[in-house]
Symmetry: none
Subunit: 425 residues, 2 copies
């Protein structure tokens, strides 16, 4: 019922929106808020006027804040305070402000029961209650659903706080709905995954490649940026952006670099092993984060010291002596050693300098050598020099680059050609 009621409302062009972000940890400065930027940028693109973003604790004070702005606000979005340990604050505050009671939503209860079983009794059950007359927004990634509804002339939307739940719910459920409300033609929107590109550089390139009737939005994640393009000319804009970045750094869809590698391995029925110095087990960790990875991942030799590179992987002492351990020669020998040790079809390796210390004039911090070996192809290797944004970032980007180049290597390409065409790493 509620969906139709919502759609029946007047058009909402140029309407005033306010955003409330609930999270005590944000007020203690333990975490920086990312929801404000994500939601306000999308709302602004749709022509909403965002009047404030208010970060509040998980103590119900959002109720007072919402009441104070009812008269000059058309859209209120609240994130967080919906979980079972939150004492139900956001849910209750919105019901109070809307002047309705909280009622059990049977659909939400059934979904929750499927997820948590008998643990539904107790605190968990609160999550199936929503303000009367409101509509549930399903949350496939967590226990707390969102909800939305109209009351006192205001459209209220509540979403869970954890970023991995909020992001998809906002972008895939709420945003299309708001777009339809604002009277914007729903022209669709394409999602891309962008790798190895600094956020500020991507934004600069978006401005540069921007075309009439094109819109864009991005979401920074640990190992990539999700980029959303909208409007009639979005395919052209995507092409021009992708050309700017370099080969393989912008792929359609919602994909991590390890998704691409997994796909390449499963398609070809290949087993992989890794040899990791610089990344210290990170690639193995990322591949085995996935259930079912034992189908293609056999193991990794993390060889942090040079003795281990020689003893465990059989890298010749002469290679390390002549070229140092941060060399294409060493990376290639490491990959070959891992392939042999784990008896796999394919192997990738990483060696380099993550810093903050250990850089030399010849090999500054950020210098990374990646090796690739296969039962069916000549070994290859590539040397990259990442701009240094810190140890973690260098390790993460090295893992991503190794996986992207690994896919290209499996398809028969030259990893040096690919890597040297990357523009902004």
């Amino acid at each position: 019922m509620a969906q139709e009621a919502l759609n029946a409302q007047a058009e909402m062009n140029n309407t005033d929106a306010r955003l409330f972000v609930i999270g005590t940890e944000l007020l203690k400065g333990q975490v920086a808020d990312g929801h404000g930027k994500l939601i306000s940028s999308e709302l602004s693109r749709l022509g909403y006027n965002v009047k404030s973003i208010e970060i509040l604790p998980d103590d119900g004070s959002v109720q007072t804040s919402m009441e104070a702005c009812l008269s000059d606000t058309d859209l209120i979005i609240v994130t967080g305070g919906l979980g079972p340990t939150s004492d139900d604050m956001t849910r209750r505050a919105i019901a109070e402000v809307a002047g309705v009671e909280l009622v059990l939503d049977q659909g939400a209860w059934d979904t929750l029961y499927k997820r948590v079983g008998e643990r539904i009794h107790g605190a968990n059950e609160q999550q199936a209650y929503i303000p009367k007359g409101f509509t549930v927004i399903e949350n496939p990634l967590g226990t707390a659903p969102g909800f939305m509804g109209r009351a006192k002339g205001v459209l209220f939307i509540a979403m869970p706080g954890p970023p991995r739940e909020l992001g998809p719910m906002f972008l895939e459920r709420v945003l299309p709905f708001l777009t339809s409300l604002s009277g914007h033609e729903s022209q669709g929107r394409d999602e891309y995954s962008v790798f190895l590109t600094p956020e500020s550089k991507l934004e600069e390139l978006c401005v540069k490649s921007s075309r009439p009737s094109c819109t864009w939005g991005d979401r920074f994640q640990s190992y990539r940026i999700s980029l959303y393009l909208g409007g009639e000319n979005r395919a052209l804009m995507a092409k021009s952006l992708s050309d700017d970045l370099g080969p393989g750094l912008m792929v359609p869809g919602d994909l991590e670099s390890w998704d691409l590698l997994e796909q390449a391995l499963l398609e070809r029925g290949l087993a992989i092993s890794t040899a990791e110095s610089l990344t210290g087990g990170l690639i193995a960790k990322l591949l085995t984060d996935r259930p079912g990875s034992s189908a293609y991942f056999k193991g990794s030799a993390v060889t942090y010291c040079n003795q281990a590179k020689e003893k465990v992987l059989g890298v010749p002492h002469s290679i390390i002596e002549s070229y140092t351990e941060v060399s294409c020669q060493c990376a290639q020998a490491m990959a070959e050693g891992a392939m042999k040790l784990y008896d796999t079809d394919f192997a990738i390796s990483t060696t380099g300098i993550a810093g903050p210390t250990g850089g030399t004039e010849q090999s500054p911090v950020g210098t990374v050598c990646l090796g690739f070996a296969s039962r069916f192809q000549e070994s290859q290797s590539a040397k990259l020099v990442f701009q240094s944004y810190g140890r973690d970032s260098i390790r993460r980007r090295s893992a991503v680059a190794a996986m992207l180049l690994g896919c290209f290597y499996l398809s028969g390409g030259s990893v040096i050609d690919m890597a040297s065409a990357w523009q902004y790493i």
Copy 2:
């Protein structure tokens, strides 16, 4: 956080602060705010209770927002809206709320004149005006000085918005002043790191162990919970909580499990290697996240398949055949194999079932065997069965448990005794 905790937190911190961040670009989502996290984390450290962070446009609406909170706020910090193009919004809003006029500060005028010369006439000159009775905060990095002063029982502090001006001004000028003011340091607050305990369980235990004049607050992180105890009886409360949880799960300070392991290794001058099946490289990744880890970490054999356990680590085929790979026998042989392969003093190993599939009646998802070997001690192992909160969580908790038990093993303890006394894993 539960309501009791928040109430306690509010009492514990006797000064209520609110932060207003001015910047239209923040509301359009073009830039993410960083001031909120910086300022709120430092204020929280000093014991201030940050009640809200509000992002507002450069249109003077901060005046209404400040007026609305005067009665329940002791400290108001405003950033931004001080520059010559800002139409003087923040300066005027604070003067209005404080009920005083704006007056020329000759010192600020002189400083500005040195900086911009004759360009001082016009919009620039506004920047030398401050609310009457307030004090200028010099800004060596920009044209707009900050200012602070007391009015209507509230301490107002205004600082410029550009991060390269705000950061130094806040950290070098404002923060030392607030520290001297608050006297919060003497009130005392102890921080603990709590491992392997579900957040909801810890909160329940805090309520149970709570004592008169004790306060607590917590922060959930990926690999532990930071717990903050305040009040006179906090030492007793800490003891009772720690007893409830079990040995080694609550340690004083801001420490990750890998900090504890690093410390144990460095103290004893030992080198470590790991053998990881279940954790797939995660322990190696966590240890090598730290710069300088090469001093004690040599490498890890990630052996995801059984053939690799046998071939790389030398686990006897008969052990896997008789006891399966998820057994204490296998874990112990893996640790011994890693120690030998990497030629280290000490090794830890993990094998188990992270799920979601692969569980059996005998070894359900969450069953984990951890092995420990040392050049100087008998090998040991322990079997744990974690409650299943998903694959990631089981892998993370296994890594933490292996590191905590590893420390205990190095100190000569029995890992089985320790693990079996853990109450809520």
